[in-house]
Symmetry: D2
């Protein structure tokens, strides 16, 4: 078979391992021919791609990022007939199928194409782990490990100065990274988008830890908004030099905590380091397994489906399960973590 | 309640996080009092323990090893009446229950005690991940990450010298660590105890990789025995200075590969570094969740059970499920990995 | 002898190793008695200290932070007679000497005390490596490794998105951390306080790298100010919610680069993670050697001096050498690095 | 100019950074043309090389190993006229100079060639840091960090089991890696080739630590031989299956310690992981600086010299300084470390 692969949407550790898994299995078992689209759907739309012989994927499993590049391009953009564009490409290049690795936007697109008869399968990607159809998404483990390591460092330096450290981790809509890294690092407060705390509640936890002799560690998901945030508190307007008025929620919270409690408080926004770098062994294995399973889907003609993890098994589900299936942190997990700090 | 905790059997990253999870939840929610037995069952037998106030577990979640120490002591050793010994201890100290964290030996002992009416719950521990009743055991993730990192290093130095590198990882009876770290590191051969390869087969994979310009990486579980090993090949006798005749299986294989293929081959036995060191964020979260769940079991009076992971949920099962439930690598996982190297 | 130890000023990886080196050598060779002042000079002023028997320093060499805590307290604060305060403490406690571990402020204070007859020796501490009297200060190596690791991650995720990444590292007055981590990570521009570039020059380097197909990596020391920064560009005023108008220099630069070049640009301020965490093996060795050498100074009665590194030797120099001896990055090192990016 | 580069002898983290430093500076400043010889001198002898345009060295600074491969080939092997071979190659390819990166064997060869009029400069390489002409060699820092990390893990697991852990690190003739990693990890005994201890002395230190409640950590350089080793103790003969009679010195020592003291003792030979993997930021910077300096030597016509580190400066010295200049651990450094364990 002749199969195309693309990685679309945000970067995520493990993308290369997915590609490698599919290519090596396809080459070894079926003598498949692979092409890799550059920068996601853009490469399909603009016919910009590279060949992917087995030697091209040598050793990439442990490399972060994606050798194919990524973008947020969309074949249906601006009302284009995405299915027609892709179909034409497939015909011109004798393609048998496409493996699309991406987030919910990519999978939504993949489903639209499938419904229009395009042979496409999906591999879900979200470093936030917010896809309900799968127990875990690759890249999440790596992000949690990077965040945890940083939180360990912040906690240590906070201890020396008897300071409160406020750390912001990824998580626009869901708090999985904050939950896991916060639990791992023994945070004294974890602020998730799903369960808004008031500033008073946050300060109470900080004070409680401080009074016990600890240097309080507050972990905040980037999408967290305090329950009682006053009007305009979260505005991201720019000033006359084109600079944002303030940074992330951590940078907003820190001075507020310091002012209310009189405890020296510093903030750190972990930012982009959470997405980059080598995937962990865990993510390399998960991504590799998903890649080989996606290849199997293509050979089985099971288009319109995507691979997923259930327990320790790799299964496949309809792409439609990726739509409107935000996996937020459930209350049971929130309470499980809360009891460890108050 | 007054609850005793012990860690028994081999060391494993995450033990301290289990202890911390139980103590903090018990202290916060129930004002429980905890004591920690030194060196596993020895501490129960000899009444050697320490108090575990909340401050004692501060920050230990990220520390490897166990603050309680461990040993292979057993209350039933030498035909002793283990139940009587433990019962007496519980009565004398007004204990309400015991949380036993350990491997199958420890859980077997816990079950015997339970059958004799002792209030005990279990937390399964095996760095080899060979317990069937749970999807993963804590410590396994850390061991895989340590092994993967080492394999990455071996692969890199092997590449420079165009050598074959043979690496031995933990796994006496099962090959889970070899499977996961081997897949993660892109090994060219993975040798598991469950699926013995012949030396010829191993050499064929090595040669195939070498001929493709790679520096072959062979990952071997310590319990692997070649299918066609001649008599006496695996004898571990000592010489007149008390030294073992040879090292692990990796040290046996390397010169054999070198001799048969004429490819320079070096071996490394990763050994004890796989057990030590800080647990990963993943293991800290898993161990912490298991610890809080074990505490819940005690409060619910659900003795004779142990906590386990199913998918993303923490559940509990009878201790008997830990007996004779070796989770070997199934053939499906073996074939999934094999296709990536031949 | 009875010797007091204090750590003062900002946190720095390796402080505990210095303490450990002094205590173990003093205890082993001389049966010295040690006390540790809490939070720097505050502990001396307020007579708040802990005993430091050898077992207290067990294993702390590899732990970040300082078991003694730190602060910016100063015995000469507010015109107090610092020498009198300290002298009284020494007499009341039968002290023979003090080992002061700290930055130039601490060493300046130590020198004032020495000039007033107080038996004090110094161990220089500055994570920025900006002390001219020594080749390297402990903690710098660790900060560079943490920064380099983060820059590697940023570069990788930048590559996937074809973005420019701007990273801010520590360095208020000097650019040593930016220089070393920037060179290590292969940055395309390094912005040091010592050699202000114009925004045009920065953009030229970014564009050059981008046109060559790279995802440009810009490393900026926190104290860097663009040569042609317009008036008010670097003001750090607060708004009505008490929030800073903008973040660090990286957050200022990124949108400017994006606007001028049309290249997607993201910023990350590494912040406090650079100070925290375990010291590297290099820093543990250096700090330990400095600690044992400081102990030797006390026993040799060589007060008013501080230990330092010259090549591979530990030497000692007058405390006065720490005053007004800012070690800025020299032009030769700047040019050496510049040639690697243009 | 047209310049050839080769890496010869054992693998060492940082080799690629040296190559990159030379190529980028030469390309940027002088529009030099570079070729890279495959596998050291073999590539020169057999005229097997690759072009090294600037894009070929992109990002390799952080990659371990060497993109050129390495071997122990020698143009003077078997009495060949090495100078003639190399001269012919230089003439046929219009070469202006060669940068040889390697250990004392390589530098010795380089010097012979220089004396025969070949334009060659050297960059010293020895992961053991045993070259007297330079304060540090690149790769040493990385090896120490890898060893230290492993020792930390061994110490932690030893603590849980109250065991003695014996770890073998690199160092055939000199004990620099054992000294640095042992000090960093707080070893209770460090066994260096330069200062042979008797087995009794080793056991005394182990017992002393054990009696103080520690899990003793013994760090042994691979070339260490006990002062009182009986005849035949260190023989490395093979048995009838072609297997070595025993492993390294650590595997010899462990059972002896266990037998004499009755303390459970385990051994680990760190082996090849110490050479592989990404170089640290420190080594990337040092190697890069050495690479740019080697390029400068070629342009200055200063052949027959090699680059070296003195303090924080990169200097150059005659290649002859690399001959017979084994830098063993001096007694002062031994005593400095010894006082920390007894």
């Amino acid at each position: 078979m002749k199969i195309g692969i693309l990685t679309s949407g945000g970067d995520c550790p493990g993308l290369n391992a997915v590609i490698r898994g599919a290519v090596i299995k396809g080459d070894r078992l079926f003598e498949d021919e692979f092409i890799g689209y550059r920068d996601g759907w853009r490469g399909v739309i603009e016919n910009d791609w590279m060949t992917l012989p087995r030697r091209r994927v040598r050793g990439i499993g442990r490399v972060g990022g994606t050798i194919l590049g990524t973008s947020r391009a969309n074949p249906f953009h601006d009302g284009q007939d995405g299915a027609e564009i892709v179909r034409r490409h497939l015909d011109e290049n004798d393609m048998d199928g496409i493996i699309a690795i991406g987030g919910d936007g990519t999978l939504f697109t993949a489903n639209r194409l499938h419904e229009a008869g395009i042979p496409v399968v999906g591999v879900p990607k979200t470093v936030d782990n917010d896809l309900d159809a799968t127990d875990y998404t690759f890249g999440f483990n790596t992000a949690v490990e990077i965040a945890t390591e940083s939180l360990d460092r912040l906690r240590m330096t906070g201890d020396s100065h008897h300071r409160c450290m406020v750390a912001e981790v990824m998580g626009r809509s869901v708090g999985w990274i904050a939950l896991h890294s916060g639990m791992a690092a023994g945070a004294h407060v974890i602020c998730l988008p799903e369960f808004p705390l008031t500033i008073d509640e946050i300060c109470a936890h900080v004070k409680s830890a401080f009074d016990r002799g600890r240097a309080p560690l507050v972990v905040v998901a980037e999408g967290f908004v305090p329950k009682d945030a006053p009007e305009g508190f979260m505005d991201y307007d720019l000033d006359e030099f084109g600079r944002p008025r303030f940074g992330g929620i951590a940078e907003v919270l820190a001075p507020v905590i310091e002012e209310r409690l009189g405890i020296e408080t510093r903030s750190t926004v972990l930012g982009h380091i959470q997405r980059g770098g080598e995937p962990t062994g865990y993510d390399r294995v998960l991504a590799t397994r998903l890649g080989t399973a996606a290849l199997d889907l293509v050979h089985a003609g099971r288009f319109g489906r995507m691979v997923a993890l259930r327990g320790t098994d790799i299964v496949d589900v309809p792409l439609t399960e990726a739509i409107d299936s935000l996996k937020a942190v459930p209350e049971s997990r929130w309470r499980e973590a809360q009891v460890l700090f108050g």
